[in-house]
Structure formats: structure tokens, C-alpha cells
Symmetry: C2
Subunit: 197 residues, 2 copies
């Protein structure tokens, strides 16, 4: 299983999501591209991938690629799923998620709860400018990549990551958008660390 956590710092869970203005809705455009980068191949959906969008440190919207149906890679289509998930947030009680559509759920969990939980399922990998070059690392079996949106991680988030991250990796000399970082990570995993093509 490959998992990706993306932290949305500016998306209000109660936002009136406008599909005509995704950037103005907490940079929902970027989050949608992250979901797309994580779950889509050229003519299908990847297997064994989950994306967790942490919203306002209060809710986590989960996309499970194995159960997704009728999802298309355009931002507007993905955004509608996120909108519907946020609209169902009051139905998420305790650790019981609210079901939104096949493969999409929303949990009442913030950043540290989501990441701590995933750390029990795989190896948390933090993208960090002082990390090991990606090409020098061996891909873990069940990686959990943790990324931030257009904002940096907060001090609290960095503290949580310092506790749970098994590895810190560096993707290259340029700072990439989170969705592009997901694509680079997938390619590294697909090729077993640039060894198998």
C-alpha cells in the first residue's frame, strides 16, 4: 500500500466550495491535482493507493483508489468529491467515518491523529530539504508520504513528523508543488528506486 497525506492549511471545512473558483477555496485546485497524481494512471486507477487530505487540522478526507468509481482526473470532478465529503463532516463521529461516495470517506481526525495512525501501517516518509537524496534511498514496502500544500508545515506538524518519520528524503534541487512531488515519488516506487523499468 502506498499512502499520501496532504495537509491543507487554508481550506475551511465549512467553505462554500465554488467549482468555478478552486484556488480561492483554500487552494482546492492543488489538493485535487494531488488526488489525481496519487490515484491515476494513463488509462485507469492505481491499485493499493490511499490519499488523506487533512483539512484545518480537524478533518481528514480519504480517497481509497481500490474503491473509487467514476472519478475523473480533472480538478472540477475531484473537487466535487471533496466538497461532498466536507458537506458530510458532521456525520463523522468518533473514529467512524462518514461515507461520501465509493472510495471517499471523511474522518473527524486532525494531522497528528491521522499521521500517528498511518505510522502503524507503514513507513512515514517526510519530504525535507535536508533529507537523503531520493535516488540514494531504498523504497520502503508501505510508504506513507507526508506533504504540505502551498504553505510550509507548521511548528506543531514538524514536531509530529520528527516523532514518527522513519525517513526524510529530498526529491531534488527544486521545490516542487505537492502534486508533482507525489508523481516523482510514484515513479521512484514504480521503478523500485530507478532500477526496474
Amino acid at each position: 500500500m502506498r499512502q499520501f497525506v496532504v495537509v491543507a492549511h487554508e481550506l475551511d471545512p465549512a467553505a462554500d466550495v465554488s467549482l468555478e473558483d478552486l484556488p480561492g477555496t483554500g487552494r482546492l485546485d492543488l489538493l485535487c491535482r494531488c488526488v489525481g497524481a496519487a490515484v491515476f494512471l494513463s488509462h485507469g486507477i492505481r491499485e493499493s493507493v490511499r490519499v488523506h487530505l487533512v483539512v484545518d487540522d480537524a478533518y481528514t478526507v480519504r480517497f481509497d483508489a481500490d474503491r473509487l468509481r467514476h472519478l475523473h482526473p480533472d480538478e472540477r470532478n475531484v473537487a466535487a468529491r471533496i466538497r461532498d465529503a466536507l458537506a458530510a463532516r458532521e456525520d463523522a463521529i468518533g473514529h467512524q467515518p462518514a461515507d461520501v461516495s465509493p472510495g471517499v470517506e471523511i474522518y473527524r481526525m486532525g494531522f497528528s491523529e491521522t499521521v500517528d495512525r498511518l505510522a502503524r501501517e507503514g513507513a512515514v516518509v517526510q519530504l525535507h530539504e535536508d533529507g537523503t537524496p531520493l535516488a540514494a534511498e531504498t523504497p520502503p514496502a508501505d510508504p506513507v508520504f507526508v506533504l504540505s500544500d502551498h504553505r510550509d508545515f507548521t511548528a506543531d506538524e514538524r514536531g509530529t513528523l520528527a516523532d514518527v518519520a522513519e525517513r526524510r528524503v529530498r526529491l531534488g534541487p527544486k521545490t516542487l508543488h505537492a502534486d508533482h512531488a507525489i508523481t516523482v515519488a510514484h515513479n521512484w516506487l514504480d521503478t523500485d528506486g530507478y532500477a526496474s523499468y
Copy 2:
């Protein structure tokens, strides 16, 4: 200079572009993400990058990263530029492009004319399932990556590429969307072939 050619097989240059339905407009969503993957870094625009969208084998919309202004990475924003470029297509005469907005031009050139011209500016790299593994190649100085949208290259396009491509590379065992392929190519170039982080 890094250049990316993306062939749009289903986008009608005379289409009444709907920003509310980019997938239904010749998969304009995918083309927009290709432009974004090519020109954007996390907090800025890359230098020395051009993207060429070949539309209907008749027109080529060119984005020149060094001259772009006020472009945002969301699909809708990029789509508006492509829409405006297509609307100006009748002003492109001979080899004189029509200026659309800073850094965006449209040329009256189809696939082979665009690719032949770019082959004089750099090394044409074709993505191909029988190509050399990317990690085994040395990055060329001025690569021109040629990619297709959700459709395969036509027989004619494959013929043109067979004539001009200096290299054929394989990005991995999975077939990626064109925008994801651009991100992988950029990361390979950024790291000087996975050597410099």
C-alpha cells in the same frame, strides 16, 4: 532550454471552450495540467521552458515560461489562455504567430512542422515503451520531449518521430498521464539524471 510538445488529438480549434467542462472540450483538462507541470515550481515559474500544444495537427499554442505573467496553476486559469489562443488563430499567418497574452502565442503549424523546427533547437526525446530506461540515459542539454494526450500517436506522427527523435526513453513500468510524464522528465533533468540533489 527544455521543451515539451503535447499533441492534442481531440481538441477542435474552433471549439466553443467551456471552462465548466474542460474534459468535454477535447480533454483540455489534461492539456492544462501538462502546461502546469511544465512551467510551475512550488513558488514560481521555471526558467527556460517552453510548452507546445499541437491542436488538430493545424495549430500550435506555445507557452514560454520566461515571459508568462499572471498565470496560475489551476486548470481553469490555464484553459482560459488556451481558449484565448485558439480564438486568435486566424491572426497567425504563415510563420508569424498571433500574440495572445505575455508568453502565449499561437502558430499556424501542425505536428511535423512544429517538431521538425524544434529538432533544430535541441534533442528530440520520444517516450516509448521500448525505449531506454530513463535512469540509464544522460540528460541532453536541450531536450525536446514529445508526448501525446490520452490517445496514442497516429501512424503519421510515429513516422515523423522515427525521423527526428534522437532518443527513445521509457519512464517506468506504468503508463503515465502526459502531465505526470512531464513531471518525471523535469525531475530527471533537475537532478542531472538522478545524480545531483
